[in-house]
Point group: D2
Chain length 202, copies 4
């Protein structure tokens, strides 16, 4: 396997990339200047050096501090904790501009076939909740902010159960509201969404 | 224009049909048996003869009775009235199996460019609400069940205003709940939907 | 089944139309004026009255004459006969503006699973070729103008064999040229197309 | 700009990659093992070290030799030279298994807006043709194997003119055959393709 093939096979593991696009990436880099290739190689290596995983919320961030900017911020609402599947979902909640509480990145959703949870940071979440409780006495609500699909629902059910087992009577566990999302037409909405939209009317 | 072209030009007015598919429809009918063509022609004509528009909810239905089965039913909840844009939206609500109130078909949504409402049955809706109030004293809520898009929102705003002008203190006007619809991933959800999902959490 | 359902079930048999779009067609007709519905019903019925199938090329055409305009035309090249699968393919060849010979509509392509040819007018084609030969002594080439897919290729192989069995030494049987079609990029072309494009270079 | 943002902005320059997928690539690398990141960085750097551009055909290849395997091969047909736009197009011709001549990678196609050719290796091609002529006296045909689109056609016209200016009476300049590509249906084919398919029938 030569350098072209080896690099193409690495790109093939990138999310959403097939053999053909992997080859195009290599051709693109072959046509690029040595400076571009060096910058790419260095930036990939820099990830490990410059990016840390926050010891509290588990998200990746850039910086010298022990915890990320959100976890370290005094102005965030310590009574709310949103549990999300991924850094991308955390970023989506943050961009909406309405949430001011804390986060915890679970690292994925439950695989429905295997029902295995070992890839997910469920234990770390429980430890984190207990930790938050001991530091800030006012944690009141854990929001399970998972995608509105069977995997997300199964993950929410599992995590809810584990949190309830902590027997912390003052913590409420909630899930995100369901209903018509922006752009939805009733005619094409599934019965479950219509049901949620009717129940959540106001 | 021969019979093939005339029929193709009629099919071109069908929703979502372009010139090419219109031609395919004609070719399909040319290859069909005379019996199929006769049945189609008769069924089209039968619409006017067999289908009536309900004088209460304005939907199309088949039957001899003056009002449709839903409006005539004693078992429907007379305290709820859902205002929908089209028969198709009414059918979607009905299929969800959770709604047991009455309906009113407005006939469309507001055109944002012209803001004209003359295509919509706003006056008939107001008359219908007054009528329902006089017959069943317990109409308590009008649900504006429009699509979750700018046209639907503008229609809801307009209709809400008109209903409030009736000064019926006992009628609440609601809209469908917004949030994540089935299958939504947070990562791809728009900020408005995430905001609604956070507000509607439970 | 009421008139709405009966008409919807007829539209569901239209090519490319599913249950949902069939329902939309019915709703469209319900909202249309009685005049539109009457015109549609009459146009469907008019097909049988005004449209004939040409006794020579088997295509559908409008008119009183026994044969269609193309078959009746003295200016068409009688030495060429293009055999096509459908009226739509005939129309595509005609629109290209380069073909001036005659046509024969076979009525479809071979089904690869059953290999049955009884739906196809193979016998009529052979009779038509003999007939042309006796009337115009100069029929020189039969062009098998089928789609460039396995069904088209199998149909061409079968029809070619049958024509060769006629033992008409002066008739050449050809198929359409293969190669890059407009817009094709080499990178995404299949090996068979590239092979044809190389062989057909000029 | 932190390491995550810097790497994402590099991935955004990859062909066909937008901001969202660039972010997903970075998240994928953050979750990957240090070994995977190191291998990627090294493979990118290895391109410059291990991959050379062939001094004859200008394609990228892996090896110590001065020319690529195809140019160095004694078994390739020296009478044919295919001029292609890119390494990917060369690979497509090679995969078809029918072409046994030489290649020259032009480096792109003409930009129709600017009509500039300075990005393309037109001069190198002419030098290469003269060079081939002096070494192998039997170069007989230059095949302009460009995509079947306006850019490809304009490039072919330009390159053909330049080659004819060389006044080498024994060199024939050809282009790839046009026609129905595999899977094409006549009904949806453009007139130009049908014209080529009719002309190229056999």
């Amino acid at each position: 396997m030569d350098a072209i093939e080896r690099l193409a096979s690495l790109f093939e593991h990138f999310p959403g990339i097939g053999p053909r696009q992997a080859e195009r990436f290599v051709q693109f880099l072959l046509r690029s200047s040595p400076g571009v290739r060096r910058e790419l190689a260095e930036s990939v290596q820099a990830l490990a050096r410059d990016i840390r995983q926050c010891s509290e919320c588990m998200r990746f961030y850039s910086g010298e501090s022990k915890t990320c900017g959100i976890c370290a911020s005094a102005s965030r609402d310590k009574s709310l904790l949103a549990v999300v599947a991924s850094d991308a979902d955390l970023a989506a909640l943050e961009k909406s501009g309405t949430y001011r509480g804390g986060y915890f990145v679970l690292g994925g959703t439950l695989d429905l076939a295997s029902e295995k949870t070992d890839r997910l940071r469920v234990k770390q979440l429980l430890t984190h909740i207990n930790d938050l409780r001991s530091r800030y006495t006012d944690l009141k609500e854990v929001i399970l902010a998972f995608p509105a699909n069977p995997e997300g629902d199964a993950t929410a059910a599992k995590v809810r159960e584990e949190i309830l087992d902590l027997r912390n009577p003052n913590i409420k566990v909630t899930t995100l509201g369901r209903g018509l999302s922006t752009g939805s037409e009733l005619e094409y909405a599934d019965p479950e969404t219509i049901k949620s939209a009717l129940e959540g009317r106001r």
